[in-house]
Symmetry: C2
């Protein structure tokens, strides 16, 4: 049995303002309209014999992740997919330990895990799948296989794996050691030596092997993860394919990467030198590099006018962006936040996010569009005593039966069908119809149809905070 394990999450601060805590990097659309997470799901499903997939992510990201999956499920093999939902992120050792317990119990101890981070891009999926087949064969005998990317420049932003001797593409090497992110001079030596590969974070091993090694080399991780796993699987609210990890033990698991916890200490580990079109997309600079430049080195996505400007990456959302007289900039526009930076300094965006968090700024965490289990809402205008939202309700989804004390709401249906509870009336609205819900009136909005329901909500009242809500009934257990 082969089980791809997708690790998805991250704080998203390196690619702010498009990536934010409430919808981080794996959700960013990169290629062909697919997000990194969706590309990873498709990759996992394409690995031969992967009849089951485990997705480890934060519980706050569950509904969004599920939606991503549903959007592409027609293009996927019908694998059995399980979500393991973390209450907090505790790094890769904890996530992999929990996954290994699940896989061992459900599919047997000799089942093979293939760990796939969801925050990088692999352009050549066929090349990856070929290498994966070899890696799986090797893992079957109890060995560890890690994927090393053949470097194209002396990158200082990645960890490296030193091979015992020089590597050639697609030929497994013995691993001499793992090396943390180097400074430029070391990176240059690594790059020129022909012995060093970038550490991709993709691993392959048997469930019993990894659990054994975690027990041996990271005892506290093992003990606590086991305790957490037992509590989680015995929790009666959990279903086999949606498991909320319990909150009392898991958060105390040491936060450590699987590299440090295990991989550096085991000796039966091989590295697969890989040429698979891999990109970490670790900054706006590398994001820009995915766009084909024009003759002046400019890369444009969206509506932009550049005058006397060179080597600049502009990504526009809805606005027209004019850039004049500059070189080597990055300009990233979103509905509520804008980033302008020198391309060589884009790593400083992390400081921006830290700064915004410190001041309690909404844009550190939330987008203008907020994802809910039933769909999304987008605040279009937040005025004095009124607020306007665009609301999208997914097919057969339903908001809670609720009431607001301080605001009334006007709903205008733009497309789709709305099933409405408004006080003691129950009725259906179509496009171009509307209803009014006075403050203090119990109401519910549902989409009984097969397509999205789009409506505009105009709220009026003295107080318009999201916390003015009483929920009487909710199909998402909120």
């Amino acid at each position: 049995m082969l089980v791809p394990v997708i690790i998805s999450g991250g704080s998203g601060s390196r690619l702010w303002p498009v990536s934010r805590e409430a919808r981080p990097k794996p959700f960013m659309k990169i290629q062909d309209g697919l997000s990194l997470l969706q590309s990873t799901m498709l990759r996992a499903a394409a690995v031969p014999d992967s009849n089951a997939i485990v997705i480890v992510t934060n519980r706050d990201l569950y509904f969004q992740s599920k939606e991503q999956l549903e959007a592409i499920s027609s293009g996927m093999n019908r694998a059995e997919i399980s979500f393991l939902l973390e209450p907090v992120g505790r790094n890769t050792a904890a996530a992999i330990a929990m996954s290994a317990f699940l896989v061992q119990e459900r599919f047997g101890p000799e089942s093979i895990l293939m760990v796939l981070p969801s925050d990088h891009l692999i352009k050549d999926q066929n090349a990856f799948l070929k290498l994966a087949a070899t890696a799986i064969d090797v893992a079957r005998t109890g060995n560890y296989v890690t994927f090393g990317i053949i470097p194209s420049l002396p990158e200082t932003g990645y960890g490296y794996i030193e091979c015992l001797g020089s590597y050639s593409p697609g030929k497994l090497c013995d691993v001499k050691r793992f090396v943390e992110k180097p400074d430029y001079d070391r990176a240059k030596r690594f790059f020129e030596s022909g012995n060093y590969l970038w550490n991709s974070g993709i691993f392959c091993f048997r469930a019993d092997a990894i659990l054994d090694s975690i027990r041996k080399h990271a005892r506290e991780v093992f003990d606590k993860a086991r305790e957490s796993w037992i509590a989680t699987k015995n929790d009666p609210v959990n279903q086999p394919h949606v498991m909320y990890i319990e909150k009392s033990v898991f958060p105390s698991i040491p936060s450590i990467s699987i590299d440090y916890a295990v991989m550096e200490h085991v000796d039966n580990i091989k590295v697969m030198p890989s040429e698979i079109g891999w990109s970490d997309i670790g900054s706006w600079r590398s994001m820009g590099e995915l766009v084909v430049p024009d003759a002046k080195g400019n890369r444009l996505v969206g509506d932009a006018v550049l005058i006397e400007t060179t080597n600049t990456y502009v990504q526009s959302d809805a606005r027209v962006i004019a850039v004049v007289g500059v070189d080597n900039l990055v300009v990233i526009d979103t509905p509520d936040a804008l980033l302008v930076g020198h391309a060589d300094k884009v790593q400083l965006v992390k400081e921006v996010v830290a700064n915004l968090k410190l001041s309690g700024h909404e844009a550190a965490r939330w987008h203008r569009t907020v994802y809910r289990p039933w769909g999304t809402y987008t605040v279009l205008e937040d005025g004095q005593h009124y607020k306007m939202k665009r609301i999208v309700v997914k097919p057969r989804a339903s908001l809670s039966l609720q009431m607001h004390s301080h605001r009334s709401e006007h709903w205008v249906i733009i497309s789709g069908t709305a099933e409405i509870v408004n006080g003691d009336k129950h009725f259906t609205l179509q496009r171009d119809e509307s209803t009014y819900i006075p403050a203090g009136c119990k109401h519910r909005l549902s989409n009984p149809g097969d397509e999205d329901l789009l409506l505009i909500e105009v709220q009026t009242g003295e107080y318009l905070g999201e916390d003015d809500i009483v929920r009487f009934e909710d199909k998402y257990g909120r």
Copy 2:
């Protein structure tokens, strides 16, 4: 009789995206929440004995200009104010000729015009008024007086006036010559000589004197302006205080500045060396200079986070703007357009506007908020088959009685009182009430109250263009 003549208009391209053709530079708010036009109106009203004021502007800007005036009229002397509305801009000679005809006819040939451009800032109004009093005295005897600004740097963006000998502040000099914008070396020589002043475009002269000189030195301007004036004053639709200049002769007046047409050729002209806190605000760089910099030389207006950034001007509208790792940039944000530029290259914004015009881009001309005689509307979202607007109707204003063939409209009142005609019903709506106007239904929206009426409009339909409108009755003659 002393008549300040305010010249207001301009294409607004140097300060795009805040200034645009449909609402150019004079409407930009600069100080104390006042626009340049309002500051100029207050300045005109403060000139001693100015019991009448003439405002020359484009007819498309009339309602906006009037609104600007009404917003400050409580702080103004009760001067008689007349609008002269140009069908097209024909430069200052034509505008001044028309004003001089008006002033001569209405207030007598010996009345004095004080020409005040509305696109610059004068911080020290008291100093200006003191110099103005002297200038008026001199103009009374038939002489010309122009205001020269004592230069603070060798600016290449302005025209210069050379004095006969060196100047001292507030002491009238004889003018030796007018000089066009110089290159840097000449500007430097001018600046160091102590004989050169910046040409402010502020003039003072008698109506009969200027008309005489225009006749003498720019005969075609004189003849056509006289013909145009006669047709305009005899047009029965014109009222004394709102005169739409006729369209058949005026557009053929040669487009020439009063400097070239007259001032360079007259010999009884004096210049007033002025220290009045004058700023031309000719670019985003000079706009930025009005803001006090922090220790790193950054100037911030609005919500911004700057990391490792120096000497940068950021003006944010509603979004948070993050700037990282740059020096000497300008970032100007508006709801639908954004400018990022090197501070030394901000004059290139003119090319941006030219480029946008060429491609027929709306943002070249229009803001997201559009000004109408009855108030404003702002498109908040323009989606597929729906559009949302925030509409503000001024007190006692009224939209036309109208009908749309392809769209229906939902109106939700946010504040104020709405008088509604909806088919054959006539009713009043207050805050938190709404109405629905189906396609094909005659309707009218009015504000009977003393405060602004604010409402949200949600349009739905297959076609949502502004040209889907049949007007049956309109109090603004549209």
